[in-house]
């Protein structure tokens, strides 16, 4: 539940008890968060968990019903989007269809009264930065999805925001492009030293790109921390289930497997499948169980087994491990420290 102690610098974005309700729906229900300048911050959660509303609250498209929002120390409640030093890359890119790519990128400069020559130069530079040099005269309709995304990125960055907001930036791209854009976004963020706040429902994306991940559920942040921490030590059942998959253990089960007598999580890939003749490893809890189900997934096999105690465990074992089939009796070793107690509810 607890983020590492906030650093003594002014946060890029700070939420304090922020609420946003739509009728009876509590879209954002008391969110506190603090985003460090220069960090890549992911807001992860299922649809309707409040993450997108939080992004829109930062951008100024929504106003909080209660609580405070600060951007670099400045209170922004009541400030319209055009008075905030943040810019957004929209999920559908929102490129202006009646303007050329160059005019799209220069739009923010144009409304700020930057002269034509200057803004065309800056737009060219921004397009070159996202590898679209020479595309100025095209229309958005003539671009591919990946190119539109880059234009949207250039258009938001050219006005030098203090924080860049990205709403499901990779959602509409196919897998190959998505991986390419992931590393490119990460590279841009590092090169610019800018805070990127991005919203995603894809845990893989959040874990691989972000410096810190905030996991949202039902309008609240249930856990925030570096990806390793969120993954290794999920704070609640929800996080354990949403970020990757996990065996959720009741207190007695956790104690039997070497953990504390508390609700705990156990990641499937931590469990070791012991070969028939292997000796019992020291310091590990060993469970004998019958295989209920086995599925081959390329890099790993997923084995679900049931112990005599009634405990169900799912283990992800290397695909190269000895093949097992439903009905076999196997031995599973749970190493010390693999069972992680969960602090919170929900």
């Amino acid at each position: 539940m607890h983020a590492p102690a906030p650093p003594p610098v002014t946060p890029a974005v700070r939420f304090e008890g922020v609420m946003r309700h739509f009728g009876a729906v509590r879209a954002v229900d008391g969110v506190d968060l603090s985003i460090v300048p220069g960090e890549f911050f992911a807001m992860l959660g299922p649809s309707g968990s409040g993450k997108t509303t939080c992004l829109r609250l930062i951008a100024g498209f929504e106003q909080p019903d209660a609580g405070h929002i600060e951007i670099f120390g400045e209170k922004v409640e009541g400030l319209p989007p055009y008075r905030r030093a943040v810019n957004t890359v929209f999920q559908d890119y929102a490129l202006f269809p009646h303007l050329s790519v160059g005019e799209n990128v220069a739009y923010g400069l144009r409304v700020r009264g930057v002269g034509r020559v200057e803004r065309e130069k800056l737009a060219r530079e921004a397009l070159a930065m996202v590898k679209l040099a020479g595309m100025e005269t095209r229309r958005p309709a003539q671009l591919s999805g990946g190119q539109r995304q880059r234009v949207a990125l250039a258009r938001a960055l050219v006005v030098r925001p203090k924080v860049l907001l990205l709403d499901e930036p990779l959602g509409a791209l196919d897998l190959k492009l998505r991986e390419e854009m992931q590393s490119e976004l990460k590279g841009l963020q590092r090169a610019l030293g800018l805070s990127f706040v991005f919203v995603t429902h894809d845990q893989g994306e959040a874990l691989s790109m972000a410096d810190r991940v905030a996991v949202f559920n039902e309008g609240r942040i249930v856990q925030v921390g570096p990806p390793e921490e969120v993954y290794e030590r999920p704070a609640t059942r929800f996080v354990a289930g949403f970020v990757g998959s996990a065996n959720v253990l009741e207190p007695a089960e956790a104690a039997a497997l070497g953990g504390a007598a508390r609700p705990s999580s156990l990641r499937p890939e931590k469990i070791v499948l012991l070969a028939a003749d292997a000796p019992e490893p020291t310091g590990a809890a060993v469970v004998e169980a019958g295989v209920v189900e086995m599925s081959y997934q390329g890099a790993v096999r997923r084995v679900t087994a049931r112990a005599a105690s009634g405990l169900h465990l799912t283990a992800a074992v290397p695909a190269s491990a000895s093949a097992v089939a439903a009905g076999d009796t196997i031995r599973l070793a749970v190493p010390k420290g693999a069972v992680q107690p969960m602090e919170g509810e929900g």
Binding site: A59, G60, F61, P80, P81, Y82, N87, T88, F90, Q91, D92, A94, L95, F96, P97, H98, Y107, G108, R110, V111, R112, P140, A141, R155, A156, V159
Partner: protein, 266 residues
């Protein structure tokens, strides 16, 4: 694409002929030498009615009045119709559906009802009939066509475009000028032209709201009753066809182009 059977083609041609051949008769009798009745075939051809029309001040007064009314009613409709569309296209608020129905109602309502209603309202409020009462009468239905065109286009416009504009630093006025207007411009032009054409040949509402003045269609109606210089009305009718047909044609092409542009992004 399949080809239509011959019978269907003939039926279609017949339908078109039924609609448009009468227009040719109007054109034909502009040139007849017979002034009291429309005999077929015309006993002779002359151009003198064009001269007569040119010289009659009452015709030009009526044309001038109709043009002025149409221009002002259209301008009013463009402003109010666009504002109404902006309010109703996307925002959700209590009573939105009834209000949008009320906006569209004047065009569905028989003109005679609108006419009587306006006449009685003007009477109750002791507003004397004038140029402005005609404009108000016309504006009731002109607003509808502008509103309908604008609202349809606004609904097709992605709401994130407006947010993107604000996000990039544009205030509401800049966003309207630089993003919304360019995207609904052709729809407004089409709606405006249609409104102009509707106003220009409106008879029923005008009869109830005009008092002593004659717009062009009213003038024609009164002229037909008198059996004198009949072809003069034909010449004027041809003028009306030109004045209303050209904007409608332009509106047709403009909206068609707009749809093609909107579809090409898919």
């Amino acid at each position: 694409m399949t080809r239509a059977p011959l019978s269907l083609k003939i039926a279609a041609l017949g339908g078109l002929a039924f609609l448009h051949v009468p227009l040719l008769f109007i054109l034909l009798y502009c040139f007849t030498t017979e002034e009291k009745s429309y005999a077929f075939p015309p006993p002779g051809f002359t151009l003198k009615w064009f001269g007569v029309v040119w010289e009659r001040a009452d015709i030009w007064a009526a044309v001038g009045l109709s043009l002025k009314v149409a221009v002002i009613a259209t301008a009013l409709a463009l402003v109010l119709g666009t504002l109404a569309a902006g309010a109703l296209a996307r925002a959700k608020f209590f009573g939105r559906e009834p209000i949008s129905l009320l906006f569209v109602l004047p065009i569905a309502l028989p003109g005679i009802v609108t006419g009587i209603a306006l006449r009685q309202a003007f009477g109750l409020m002791e507003i004397p009939f004038s140029f402005w009462t005609i404009v108000l009468g016309h504006a009731t239905f002109c607003i509808v066509v502008v509103y309908n065109n604008a609202v349809a286009r606004l609904r097709r416009l992605s709401p994130s475009l407006i947010e993107a504009s604000m996000d990039l630093g544009a205030d509401a006025f800049q966003t309207f000028r630089l993003v919304i207007l360019p995207n609904i411009g052709t729809a407004l032009l089409a709606g405006g032209m249609l409104a102009f054409a509707l106003s220009f040949d409106e008879v029923i509402v005008t009869t109830f709201t005009a008092g002593q003045q004659s717009t062009l269609p009213i003038w024609m109606l009164s002229e037909l009753i008198r059996p004198r210089q009949r072809p003069v009305t034909n010449v004027v009718a041809v003028l009306v066809i030109l004045v209303t047909f050209l904007p409608i044609l332009a509106a047709y092409y403009l909206t068609r182009e707009g749809e093609a542009v909107a579809g090409s992004g898919k």
